[in-house]
């Protein structure tokens, strides 16, 4: 029994991790493929064509840039709103608190197809045209909840006595926020922004219903899937994956180094 729980559990755990990465490996390997036909589904022969010419397929880079733009705009707005809500939820007692919590939770528990289509129904009703603005509005809507949850965890870890001390020393509320609160909760805000950008950049369903004829990167992939996804898409996705992983691992190691230094300092 001991042996089983010691080694079997470890083997199963690493098998599950490996399973999570199988499709990633397929995407990366096929980015070096020269497909035999227009469907890049099976290995044919090695080629760097896609990597040398990332924008070599019409529409790929344009849709990629559109996704980055929507991601940046919606992340900034949603992170600010989410941070404000997180601070209010942790720091203040107010009427309607549980209703607020429920309204924050619901978008995370609603199928995207319903959020996407119901928002389209509203836009049609208001005669607001689908497209860039509509998709950005939609992304802000579904990112807010994730921003609140991420920042809230950080605000909860903030000792209110630090802010009280600043106030006792005659710091204005603005100065207290700028020099005490903000620096402490900043890692949470950065985390929320990274998560928000990732969610926005990869969103397909909600964008699909509200984009009209505009193409984001996922919408481009969806359209291409019917007639064969160009190899450039695999190369770009592999690049994004490696970049995102690098950012997270560097961030993590910086945090643990700081943690160790703090512990040694104490």
């Amino acid at each position: 029994m001991r042996w089983v729980s010691k080694y079997l559990l470890r083997i199963v755990a690493f098998a599950v991790i490996a399973y999570l990465f199988v499709p990633i490996a397929v995407i990366a390997v096929l980015s070096f493929n020269k497909p035999a036909n227009r469907y890049n589904l099976a290995w044919n022969s090695f080629s760097l064509d896609a990597w040398k010419n990332l924008c070599g397929f019409p529409g790929v880079c344009q849709s990629f840039v559109t996704s980055v733009e929507i991601g940046v705009i919606s992340t900034i707005i949603a992170t600010i709103m989410g941070t404000m809500i997180a601070i209010a939820l942790v720091r203040y007692r107010f009427r309607g608190r549980s209703a607020t919590n429920i309204l924050i939770f619901l978008p995370m528990a609603t199928p995207e197809v319903i959020m996407g289509f119901s928002l389209l129904a509203l836009f049609l009703f208001l005669r607001f045209p689908p497209g860039f603005a509509a998709v950005t509005i939609a992304h802000i809507m579904f990112i807010i909840s994730f921003a609140v949850v991420t920042v809230k965890a950080r605000v909860q870890g903030l000792d209110p006595r630090l802010e009280e001390a600043a106030r006792d020393l005659y710091a204005s509320p603005a100065a207290t926020f700028r020099f005490v609160t903000l620096p402490i909760i900043l890692p949470g805000i950065v985390g929320a922004a990274l998560l928000g950008f990732a969610l926005s950049f990869d969103d397909f369903v909600i964008s699909y219903f509200n984009a009209g004829t505009m193409q984001t990167f996922p919408i481009f992939i969806w359209g291409a899937a019917q007639r064969g996804i160009p190899v450039q898409v695999n190369a770009l996705a592999t690049g994004v994956f490696v970049l995102a992983l690098a950012i997270v691992i560097v961030g993590q190691s910086m945090r643990s180094t700081r943690q160790r230094r703090l512990e040694r300092g104490l």
Partner: protein, 287 residues
């Protein structure tokens, strides 16, 4: 990502009592945004679902149920099976990370989230390569003679495989969060009192991880039941789910009242199932 220790939150109680209009000011922009673009759309969705009704006020609903009954049942069945599979696959990993991983914990958590950095659509599409008819996976199962159609791709199996894979992190993370809160001393105590490994698991660990099981199964089942990407990319016209019916009525048929009725039926089903489930499992602290 690091869970906040309850001790760290304790001193807050003193600081929280302030009552202030400032709170409402902080809440206003975000809550207004959610009210206008999340809550009100359900109203316009409902209004749209009543338009162009063939017979009676709720004619679209009756038509939706008779026309897409198969897709509706399939969506619930596929999502249910995938959720169960995801729970079985995720639990050992979440348990390992929470209770056995030591200093590798944060790296393992990064590895759980990392696959999400690659496009959802491309990851789903990659399963076409993995489950291809001549591929190793299909050959293996065919050698065992267990595949009713001699293939996986374009069958319900491929759709279930895709759903299970895609929503797995939503199962792993809540399970991890609740297993992380289990005091290892309780497990040790059970072992010290001569409970067997399985007995300790079923009497101590599993009940304590229940909030994570409930949250994880909901966060897997809900998006899976509305998904149309997996059925579209991995399945066939015979494996369409309710999400595909909504998508087809939106994109191909341009029948918005029908798409709205289907969305409302899905939403109502989820609300009913979730509230029954939460009541049965006795955990109401998920929100």
């Amino acid at each position: 990502m690091a869970p906040v220790a309850p001790i760290a939150a304790a001193p807050l109680i003193g600081g929280v009592r302030r009552r202030s209009g400032l709170a409402y000011l902080l809440l206003l922009p975000g809550m207004l945004w959610l009210a206008i673009f999340f809550v009100i759309p359900f109203g316009s969705l409902f209004a749209t679902s009543l338009q162009d009704s063939p017979a009676g006020l709720f004619g679209n609903y009756a038509q939706a149920m008779s026309e897409y009954w198969g897709a509706y049942v399939r969506a619930l069945a596929y999502a249910g099976i995938s959720t169960l599979l995801a729970l079985i696959i995720a639990y050992p990993l979440a348990y390992y990370i929470a209770l056995r991983s030591g200093r590798w914990r944060s790296l393992l958590l990064v590895l759980v989230i990392a696959p999400s950095f690659a496009s959802f659509l491309l990851r789903t599409y990659a399963w076409r390569t993995i489950l291809a008819d001549e591929g190793p996976v299909t050959s293996f199962f065919n050698a065992l003679g267990v595949l009713p159609d001699q293939r996986i791709l374009s069958t319900g199996l491929a759709v279930i495989a895709g759903l299970t894979y895609n929503f797995l992190p939503f199962m792993i993370l809540p399970l991890y969060a609740s297993l992380d809160r289990v005091d290892p001393r309780l497990i040790e105590a059970s072992n010290d009192l001569y409970a067997s490994g399985p007995k300790t698991f079923w009497k101590v660990t599993w009940p304590l991880s229940m909030p994570g099981v409930v949250a994880g199964t909901l966060l897997t089942f809900i998006p899976a039941s509305g998904d149309f990407i997996n059925a579209q990319l991995l399945g066939s016209p015979q494996t369409q789910m309710i999400g595909n019916a909504i998508q087809a009525n939106f994109y191909k048929l341009r029948d918005y009242p029908m798409a709205s009725s289907l969305s409302f039926i899905l939403m109502a089903t989820i609300v009913i199932l979730v509230s029954l489930y939460i009541k049965r499992s006795g955990t109401e602290e998920i929100v």
